[in-house]
């Protein structure tokens, strides 16, 4: 049989630019394979095309007893520390999360042929496929391009997916449908020469209104909120938001930018960012750092100046004459739901998963995807269902669900039954059961704890008692990240968690930091604060204690956030405190493994001698002081005493640094300068403090602060400093864990 290829089969069916670009990528894959393209160059090339490294792509895996080499055959790598053969993740960017049934079918095929039959929806409306081999990626891209989807600039230092409120076009509170503008922005910036030279990624988002959460524009690099002024459409434009390790709220760039001016304005923003943004230190390279440094007023001035220098481009306004069509017409006429008999389970599902549209007689149906996952088979079934009931009106949401829009209300019972057959009629969308989670240790290189494992456990537990939950609890949101990078958006949940770890008697124990008081409404206008770390296995009980405490203690009409605020951090900490203790290994070994994992979560259990044991305990005692100081800092912050918060934060960093120094130099004094000098010489300059990914990022926080330890008294600065201190302490724990592991490795007898 002749060896037909996808390249032949799909020739001419793609956008010619995309086609050429994929051919070029395929050639680069071949060159890299032959060793003719440098590691770093190839890494940037593939990342720009959405081809990402995954956990274990360095060829090493901890199997529960020891770290083993995975016997991959080929030597070349596809980037620093990324083996050629190791399968990775492919991110597929879909502007505003809108897909057609045909696109959904292709995505399903690709998951089946190249991945593990799972389509994963991300918190930024992307799709991700995992365990994909790089040799398969050019064909995968061709098959997507043939249905109008690109992976281009889905990763790397580029303009990432353009997200938008999934209700745009059907929402009751929006000013107008933002989706055509989101698509126009995506098309304008994709591959644009002015966005190729960023020091870091750039994430835009659109929202139809200010008050709801859907767009989450406050946590994006650039956000566009629809506004109508004097009958003219435009946007309130905000810049410099972001979660990441230290969250920033966005600043207002313009209260109103008319739609004909918004592309030129964002182009000017891109040019300023490309020109002045940090390039070398990727940890300070997001636009939020540039804006924090310049101040928003100066940044605004630069953008206004820049607009004058942007060469005229018909594309700035051309799109307005022919606004891209987003979502086709509804295939079914609007019709009210009658009072007839409903299938079993319909009412419960209807209550949480169906909302009415602005358009009379139509409804939006949310498909609750557990942890954002659906199978290829479900994808195909959903395509059929969409064709019958809603046409092209499928969207993904930042809560990792899918939405069917323009469902004629009379069709709801039949639609429910069709979804139910393929397991897609899970109720509880948008309730506490609908836990959001990033991939965490499952597939992410950066993950520390099993965010998906915890999310699945919480889903199961909460679903079983869902019926008995108080309504106020039902409406709460839980979001989980596997590490301090906030892909799970833990800062904007009622209850947020991020993964970390603690050393207990020479073993590592997976933990989650509890983040409370965040808010996703008003486009994520309030970020939560860290309350303390609990062992991973105790996290579900913490959820129980907090929700029960809230139900019993709340005042009439009080939201969870208001209750947390009224209680104050010290009292809230009192609720969490009983769960913070880790039981002895012999009593409950389960605490020393993570959710959905049989392996013991440890790197320090190999032949630890007394010496190493002593080091661990000494560090443990010292670092406790740092933990309590950073907690004081949070309390001061809450009480509005910003100077005190900054001072406590600084002192907590010093204590953590001292804890590390004391492991080697027991006589170090309490003098800040001596601590910093000793710590810098021993741990920072030697790079022992550096972890593989963040490098010197967290260490730099202490050096910056120590260089100028004068409190500003400013709320935003104080909040940032407290976050930085928390991260510095985390990094100190990480440093100690690495040292303990090295020590342990030294003490394993030869030949073991």
């Amino acid at each position: 049989m002749s060896a037909i290829t996808w390249k032949d089969r799909l020739a001419g069916q793609m956008d010619p630019d995309w086609e050429a670009e994929i051919d070029q990528f395929e050639a680069q894959v071949e060159l890299r394979k032959q060793g003719k393209l440098e590691d770093k160059v190839f890494a940037e090339t593939r990342l720009r095309r959405g081809v990402y490294g995954q956990r274990y792509d360095n060829g090493e895996r901890f199997d529960g007893f020891a770290t083993r080499q995975l016997p991959f055959a080929d030597v070349p790598t596809k980037g620093p520390e990324t083996l050629w053969d190791a399968p990775g993740m492919t991110r597929i960017k879909v502007p505003y999360g809108g897909v057609s049934p045909q696109q959904l079918e292709v995505l399903s095929d690709l998951a089946e042929e190249y991945s593990d039959e799972i389509l994963h929806v991300t918190t930024r409306q992307d799709y991700q496929l995992h365990f994909v081999h790089i040799e398969d990626t050019p064909d995968l891209m061709r098959r997507l391009a043939a249905v109008g989807i690109t992976t281009r600039e889905a990763c790397g230092n580029s303009v990432r997916n353009v997200t938008a409120c999934p209700l745009s076009g059907v929402c009751k509170t929006e000013s107008f449908d933002v989706s055509p503008y989101a698509r126009a922005l995506m098309e304008f910036l994709l591959g644009h020469p002015d966005v190729q030279d960023f020091g870091r990624k750039f994430k835009p988002a659109f929202s139809g209104c200010e008050q709801e959460a859907c767009g989450l524009v406050q946590l994006h690099d650039a956000g566009f909120i629809a506004r109508v002024k004097d009958g003219k459409r435009g946007f309130k434009v905000v810049v410099g938001g972001g979660l990441g390790a230290v969250p920033h709220q966005a600043h207002v760039l313009s209260e109103f930018t008319a739609v004909e001016d918004f592309l030129v304005e964002i182009q000017a923003v891109a040019r300023v960012f490309a020109r002045l943004g940090e390039k070398k230190n990727r940890n300070r390279a997001r636009i939020k750092f540039l804006i924090a440094e310049l101040g928003i007023e100066e940044f605004k001035r630069l953008v206004v100046e820049e607009i004058k220098t942007v060469p005229p481009d018909p594309r700035h306004t051309e799109f307005l004459e022919d606004l891209p069509v987003t979502g086709g017409a509804a295939p079914r006429p609007p019709q009210r739901l009658d009072g007839g008999a409903k299938p079993p389970g319909f009412d419960v599902w209807h209550e949480t998963n169906v909302s009415s549209q602005r358009q009379e007689g139509y409804a939006v149906v949310t498909i609750n995807l557990p942890l954002g996952d659906l199978t290829s088979r479900q994808g195909r079934a959903l395509a059929d269902i969409a064709r019958e009931y809603v046409g092209d009106n499928i969207r993904t949401s930042v809560e990792q669900n899918m939405l069917l829009r323009f469902v004629s209300e009379a069709d709801l019972p039949a639609l429910y039954s069709a979804l139910d057959v393929v397991g897609l009629a899970i109720p509880g969308a948008g309730t506490i059961v609908d836990v959001t989670s990033c991939p965490g240790t499952d597939t992410c290189k950066l993950g520390i704890a099993a965010s998906r494992g915890l999310a699945a456990e919480l889903r199961t537990r909460l679903a079983t008692k869902s019926a008995s939950l108080d309504d106020a609890v039902k409406n709460m949101r839980i979001k989980i990240s596997g590490c301090f990078n906030s892909c799970g958006q833990h800062h904007i949940a009622d209850i947020g968690f991020y993964g970390n770890s603690r050393g207990i008697d020479g073993r590592r124990v997976p933990h989650f930091q509890v983040i409370l008081g965040g808010q996703s409404r008003e486009n994520a206008a309030q970020y939560g604060m860290a309350m303390g770390s609990v062992p991973s296995k105790a996290a579900p009980e913490v959820v129980d204690a907090l929700t029960e405490g809230y139900v019993q203690g709340r005042e009439k009409g009080e939201t969870f956030q208001e209750w947390i605020g009224r209680l104050g951090k010290r009292n809230v900490r009192g609720i969490i405190q009983p769960f913070m203790k880790v039981p002895a290994y012999d009593a409950q070994p389960g605490f020393y493994t993570d959710w959905s994992d049989a392996r013991e979560f440890t790197i320090g259990d190999l032949g630890i001698g007394e010496c190493a044991g002593e080091i661990v305990s000494l560090f443990g005692i010292e670092v406790m002081k740092a933990e309590s100081q950073v907690f004081d800092a949070q309390c001061s912050l809450e009480e509005g005493d910003y100077e005190a918060a900054e001072d406590h934060a600084y002192r907590s960093m010093l204590s953590a640094a001292r804890a590390l120094v004391r492991m080697e130099y027991i006589d170090v004094t309490e003098d800040p300068s001596e601590i910093v000098t000793q710590w810098k010489t021993r741990f920072f300059d030697t790079e022992r403090f550096f972890d593989r990914f963040a490098k010197g990022k967290f260490g730099q926080y202490l050096l910056d602060w120590h260089a100028k330890p004068v409190p500003s008294g400013d709320r935003a600065n104080a909040a940032r400093r407290v976050e930085e201190a928390q991260l510095f302490i985390e990094a100190s724990h990480g440093c100690e864990a690495r040292l303990a592991a090295e020590q342990a490795a030294l003490e394993v007898p030869a030949g073991a």
Binding site: I4, F65, A86, D116, I118, D373, R380, D442
Partner: protein, 302 residues
Amino acid sequence: MNPIRLSVKFAAIEAPEPLDAAIPLFHRFMQQGLVEGLLIDVADYQHVPQGPGILLVGHDIDYGVDETGFVAIRKRQDGVSAADQFRDVLRMALGALQAMEADAEFRASFDPGQLRVAVMDRLHAPNTDEGAAVVESELAPVFAELFGTDAKITRTDRDDARAPVTLEIAVAGIDAEAVLAKLPPGSVPRIPYAAPQSDWDITAEELKELRDSGSDLLLIDVREQSEFDTVNLGGQLVPLGTLDLEIPELAKDAHLVVHCKAGGRGAEAVKQLRKAGFENAWNLRGGILAWIDRIDSSLPRY
């Protein structure tokens, strides 16, 4: 035709309950190298309704257990024909089935005589009459060679032209050992004798030594009557399910050796016995198969 992926799924006779049990099982597969393939990680998809359950993801093969069966998905076989890929993945899947059976903790059974073969490649094997005909023409001779001409082959993908070409095969009274013997050799010994199955294992060689020395030991066979009838070592038949009834009848200080087919049930039995206070109870690692392979090859394998 060289498809990009090809899978074999055995129907569950008794699915693991809960499915969770497959997580440590798959970790043991990786830790001890009990199955073929370059294995990367375990993925838990239990939260997905009708999803893949628990997957052991590898570089060249994925293994998976869900409520309906056990699947092995062969991948990255550039230039290898569908027939050879099928032989390969079938051997890997049957090997994994034996490793499961030999596992002391894992309780589940799958039927190698009820299998479903799917070819996941829409370019070379689209689900059209022509595409399916190509798949059938390439695989039918292999099926006949391995399963005989009585095997019933049904195409089960006709309701959805977008699904992979899928063939269901029913083989009455399949002899998995005989099938394995016809397949090309793999990279992992079929029965993982080397791996410990309980804390109280003895090897076939040790058992032989004990018996030869005339030591006063009681051999207990915890298999079922039909297995006992096929081949036995002259032990006392006490099927695992009835062991608790038998325990009061046994002398606490007796020297006991239990065995089953491959060591899994034996490990469970020895655990129960030790718990009940028998301090001199042992499990024959690898079961009667280990005895046959290493000590007495005149006995029939089954």
